[in-house]
Symmetry: C2
Subunit: 491 residues, 2 copies
């Protein structure tokens, strides 16, 4: 990345002082957003043609003054809140009284969240062919059925709206989820082990709150999802990235030092899309039992496999109670529902349900009740079957169209999930350039660098990787979208 | 409190060893629940007729072994998870594979949640006259109107259910809340300062995550709500209790050491019900600006004042941006809705919205959309007016009945909110005895000690305090309930 800095080599002011001053100004003007990443010292010294030492010292001064902070192995960032004399509000002009000069400085903790997960992307009307990530197919949402379920539940609204429910979730839903997991994932769980949460992000918070404090080591797949990495950082966690290859997390590189948690997405790795092999699953579980780590198994795409049956979940394979499993209905029903669940080992039931009760006093009764009815009637199972069929068709359309237009393409993650990962050929433009060109023809594609991924910088060609979500588009839209993408790339 | 321990003064085994062994057994048997409080060393030495030193040493050994832990100024508790060789599951027999002997110990952080908030109390059919706390009136819930709003919103379900919304809340709802606060609470806020959360507990989590780490001082009203105290403890916070009198928190006792947060419920203190006086509000704000603390103003009962207009909120009075305000629709619409909001000072907007985005990927679209429509149509304002009228009638019925049956009664908090606080006369039985007697006649009343309150032990006569919620009962039920309560107390 480049930032707009120009150094004057002839000025009496030292290069370091100029650098410090210009970075401060960029922050105050908002050109460098609070919490955003800045170039590494190596990158910036190359951009500005100065010695790396100059940049390193300038950065050190800015860190001391509170304008920047570093996260080891991850990068250097603009602080979220700045020293009082340059405190700014968000972009708009917010009404606020001038702080009194006698007010003591009161900053949030130094390791607060570095940025948003990045899943919220409002629909862009300028992109009729938007290969958007993490969006389910609006056309497949069972609107009539869902309306009926909701309206049925509303008969009982007065009573349920007037009291606090069990923060761990309504009992019937926990039971239905436990029963569902038996046939669906080969997992034998008791309802008490199931806690209803609003999605995987919420489930991760539950785990983080129980286990992550200052400097707690958290092993993460690399690359991985920003929302998870930023979350653990925000609790003070120390991220230990371990590279992913075509079989999943590279277990040979797992650290032997004590880690509290290891975060994996074994069904359809985000963002690469690979499925963790059985061998790797078994090795990971052994490692976790040996070092005393809990495995955070984030399993939301298990429902969508297009080639073969899903592998057993880590939770089902585990014999030592080391897996903290979570999944969500965000992909199977829709992100607007805000329901998911965690399955904890028996010895964590008390701690986890207590933590959940203290995090919020439970989730809305209405969605939980409707979902319970949906599952009980068999609606979820049939819906998943239909959805899998629809998404397979769309996956086939995308893969077929890419092959037809581009020949042999370097893609991963096409065998499952809701998106695939495409490494553009060397002769093509960079991913961001392709995105810009595609946009001008109404097509939305997503460079890895601008997706909800992070910890990708070690990947060769990371700036050539595009993510394409195919679930929100019809097969015809996919065909047209890829045709336009081809046209855009030819320019 | 007493625990079932019997020491044998003639045994060759030392008293200390007997004590350690019996406490361990009580924990393993479940007679001492995980996370529950144990008697202080003074109490236990008095109960067992042994020197205090014997108990202190026994406790120290149990703490070293991991069976107990202490929270300074609060008490000593059974650990939430025990050393591996005596690890237990929850009461029921959960299916789990025997942990391998080679599994490394992996315990959650030592300061995880001490217990649940205690708001979830399923309706008890044995109590037709239940003066339950924190329950809104099911009869007043606008069921028809709510159904219409929900069904209207469902027309748009497919689209909204298929994408992630803004984690800070849907824009229109934030705007409507900001506009509502102007006339309702004299607060001038921009929509960006409003973040939609699932209730005050969730709002507290937002604040705790930003500010509370190991040993962070958090000043709290004493007595206060358990859910808040346990939450701050679970982040490692150090609770500094400050007593409440008839004017609210005693500002003269606020510590001069640096505190990060001060938690107050100024509209209707929980549990005493007192309203913070204007003087105290101003003094508290001055103190907060001086020491650099944020004031967590938990303001959910401002809507229900029965005698006069509400005082300006701390947020409205503040000139230094020190107030982190929160309120909830749990009392005005119902706890099953799970919607509330925080209002943060401008300089915290970025940090708070980022933290919210990392905590969960937003709240359900459906309830937010229905609520927005409810507010926009003017429904919320009329509903509050009606509810205030209904609750005033019930408040009058309760106070009147208590006076008629008991003469001059020592009650507080009757001028606002949804419950009042009654200190039983000396000649009456203790609160727990009254609860038991009342139960036998189908009446539910709540001793302070068994309510969602904590930090009450310094109050003289705390074991004589009963909390009575009047909002879920009709005036006739209130009359009958008090008559039966009187009969129960005569025995």
């Amino acid at each position: 990345m480049q930032i707009p800095i120009r150094l004057d080599f002839l000025s009496p002011e030292t290069l370091q002082a100029q650098l410090v001053g210009q970075v401060c100004n960029l922050i105050r003007d908002g050109q460098l957003q609070l919490g955003s990443i800045v170039p590494s010292s190596r990158e910036l010294s190359e951009q500005l043609h100065v010695s790396r030492n100059t940049v390193v010292e300038a950065y050190e001064l800015l860190i001391e003054e509170g304008y920047l902070y570093t996260q080891r192995a991850v990068g250097t960032f603009v602080s979220k809140t700045l020293p009082e004399d340059s405190m700014r509000t968000a972009a708009r002009d917010l009404p606020h009284r001038k702080p009194s000069r006698r007010r003591a400085v009161n900053l949030p903790l130094p390791h607060i969240g570095r940025g948003l997960p990045g899943l919220h992307k409002p629909t862009d009307p300028a992109l009729p062919y938007d290969f958007a990530l993490n969006r389910t197919d609006a056309g497949s949402f069972p609107a009539k059925l869902w309306r009926r379920l909701i309206v049925d539940c509303l008969d009982d609204a007065a009573r349920h709206m007037s009291e606090y429910g069990d923060p761990a979730g309504i009992g019937e839903l926990r039971q239905l989820i436990a029963s569902f997991l038996g046939p669906a994932r080969g997992m034998v769980v008791a309802p008490e082990q199931v806690i209803v949460v609003s999605g995987c992000q919420h489930g991760l918070n539950l785990a983080a709150h129980l286990f992550v404090a200052n400097n707690t080591p958290v092993v993460m797949e690399s690359p991985c999802y920003r929302g998870a990495a930023f979350l653990f950082e925000s609790y003070g966690g120390k991220i230990l990235p371990v590279a992913v290859d075509e079989f999943g997390i590279d277990v040979a590189r797992l650290p032997e030092e004590k880690a509290k948690l290891v975060y994996v997405t074994p069904s359809h790795q985000f963002p690469t899309g690979v499925t963790m092999s059985l061998d790797r699953r078994i090795s990971l579980l052994r490692w976790a039992a040996r070092v005393g780590a809990y495995v955070l198994e984030v399993d939301y795409d298990a429902d969508f496999r297009y080639e073969d049956s899903p592998l057993p979940s880590l939770q089902a394979l585990d014999e030592n109670g080391v897996v903290f499993y979570m999944s969500s209905f965000s992909h199977s029903i829709g992100p607007g529902l805000r329901l998911g669940y965690v399955v904890v080992p028996p010895e964590l039931v008390v701690a986890a349900t207590t933590s959940k009760g203290l995090s919020d006093n439970g989730l809305p009764w209405l969605e939980q009740a409707a979902l319970a009815q949906f599952i009980r009637e068999g609606g979820l199972v049939s819906h998943l079957k239909r959805l899998r069929h629809t998404y397979k068709g769309r996956r086939d359309a995308l893969v077929g169209a890419l092959h037809r237009h581009f020949g042999a393409v370097d893609i991963s993650g096409a065998d499952a999930g809701m998106h695939l990962c495409w490494c553009l050929p060397r002769e093509a433009a960079l991913a961001r350039e392709v995105q810009a060109a595609a946009r001008s023809l109404g097509v939305g594609v997503y460079p890895l660098q601008d997706s909800p991924a992070c910890l990708y910088e070690h990947m060769k060609d990371y700036d050539r990787i595009l993510l394409l979500g195919y679930t929100p588009l019809t097969e015809a839209q996919i065909e047209e979208g890829v045709a336009r993408l081809t046209a855009a790339m030819r320019r």
